[in-house]
Amino acid sequence: MIYREKITVTSNERLTDDIFDLKFNTKNIAKDAKPGQFINVYSADASRLLPRPISICEVTGDEIRLVYRTVGEGTREFSRLQKGDERFVTGPVGNGYDTDFLNGNFKSAALFGGGAGIPPMVELSKRLDIKTDVFLGYRDVLFLNNDFPENVTVHIATEDGSTGTKGNVMDALRESGVTPDVICACGPMPMLKAIKAYSEEDVIKTYFSLEERMACGVGACLGCVCKTKETDEHSKVDNARICVDGPVFDAEEVIL
């Protein structure tokens, strides 16, 4: 079930120049929310028709936390939200990660987050009770790196080398010597492709959270598809809707 709710902002803080941290309470969304799912946030400006999909970063009781980068007019509007402001949202959307399955079938996990792909890894790491290493990739300025649970080891890669490993998350993985049983990754396509090459070679089960331009955000318009290796059950062709069939896919099932 996807709920449409009018939410009231409880806080909206700036984390870095262009990263913001939005919190609001929900009636039903938080109760059902799983890591890897997302929220559609609707604009107050009627000329911006389409909802902006933002991953669930954290769920605390009835509260949902979204962490987002300002890239265009929609996210810039959200960055100006203040405590008490109201917006419509729909959610939780998508399959999310099956954390019971991950906990039950693997001994250790490596979570990879690149840039705006970092937020969903926070809630995911909270719900894993197996050995978890998190690899975070940044251009330079860090965010959310202190928000992971204590039992999780955080590894950082920065492009400019200002913190942690100089390079990308794959460089950080090599440097750490970690050899995970399962990988969960969200981030830019070059990062996902590098992870896929690595996990295929070492035969490590891998899950990707994918992104695509969306219109309806609820599975109806077929705007947001990705290519699949096999014929998809719903579409009967070789593609699946990222919004509701994903955004989390088994890396073996999708073509990047």
Binding site: R4, A46, P51, A215, V218, G223, V225, V237, N239
Partner: protein, 302 residues
């Protein structure tokens, strides 16, 4: 005043109210059932379905524009067989008129789908001869009155259901297109489909949509759609279903006054998945406030 009559009749089919959804924006209703009570819609119009599964275009398929959006889905659909097995049984749980939108690349393909739907529990067919996003099909029929008439005749002969022909706005004279399909036997016309448009990403120096062009929809096209519905309604005697940018009850009433017997709500569902319910309620409120006994009393008053 209480008990206003919202019902309308199109080609002998009674709708409980004049509001349906625009094909392709509502799936087969399943994805919107969390938000809208399908029993309260005059009709559900499903996504275009072809004789075989179509995989559609590459991504990026959708992009927002000022007060609108461009789409180039490319009529991805699971094919009529799956549609009959899965979507029709779903829709049958609801007390609403069922309209199946049909696409094809050749006249024969349209006829195949229409034949497969004979005997199925659906009420009306909407024949899409106006999709701008698929080269081979649709639009080729929708831009030439003779070709449009040819599809209409073939479909009418093959079908036991009332046939609505869905018209493209990407033509010189919408009145001529409407007349051509009326003469060929269409029971109703619906319009408008999307207007062909384009968006360029200046940083990537590339087209945003993989298909280069896409169909513009949403409030941005409403004035054009309203004018075309008015022209079509004055050119033919069959009912007109109006659409294009409808996002509120007042938008819907404008189309009805311009000559539409019913209206379809499309892109607005993406902005507010409950909008169809608000539109049905808003039309009733308007009639009550203005002491108009039946919505039929305002159809085409201008």
């Amino acid at each position: 005043m209480s008990g206003v009559d919202l019902s309308v009749e199109i080609a002998g089919v009674k709708w409980k109210n004049p509001v349906t959804v625009a094909s392709g924006t509502f799936g087969s209703g399943m994805e919107f059932a969390d938000f809208a009570d399908l029993n309260r819609l005059g009709a559900v119009t499903t996504k275009g379905v072809a004789s075989k599964p179509w995989k559609g275009n590459d991504t990026i398929r959708v992009v927002e524009t000022a007060s609108g959006m461009l789409n180039a889905i490319g009529l991805q659909n699971p094919g009529i067989e799956t549609f009959i097995e899965r979507d029709i049984p779903f829709l049958n749980k609801y007390d609403t008129v069922k309209i199946v939108n049909v696409v094809g690349k050749t006249v024969e393909e349209y006829v195949d789908v229409v034949r497969a739907l004979n005997g199925q529990p659906v009420d009306m067919l909407e024949i899409n001869i106006s999709c701008p996003n698929v080269k081979e099909g649709g639009i080729a029929f929708g831009q030439d009155p003779k070709a449009a008439a040819e599809v209409t005749k073939a479909v009418k002969e093959a079908s036991e259901k009332p046939v609505i022909m869905k018209l493209s706005p990407n033509v010189t004279s919408i009145a001529d297109m409407a007349k051509a399909v009326e003469e060929a036997g269409a029971d109703a016309v619906s319009l408008i489909n999307t207007l062909t448009g384009m968006k360029i990403d200046i940083n990537r120096r590339a087209f945003v949509l993989a298909n280069k062009t896409g169909g513009l929809s949403g409030p941005a096209i409403k004035p054009v759609a309203l004018r075309m519905v008015y022209e079509a309604a004055h050119a033919v005697n069959i009912p007109v279903i109006g659409m294009g940018g409808i996002a509120s009850a007042s938008d819907a009433i404008e189309f009805i006054m311009a000559g539409a017997t019913a209206v379809s709500v499309g892109t607005a569902n993406f902005n507010n998945p409950e909008v169809t319910m608000e539109i049905v309620d808003g039309i009733r409120d308007y009639l009550e406030k203005n002491e108009i006994r039946s919505v039929k009393d305002i159809i085409g008053i201008l």
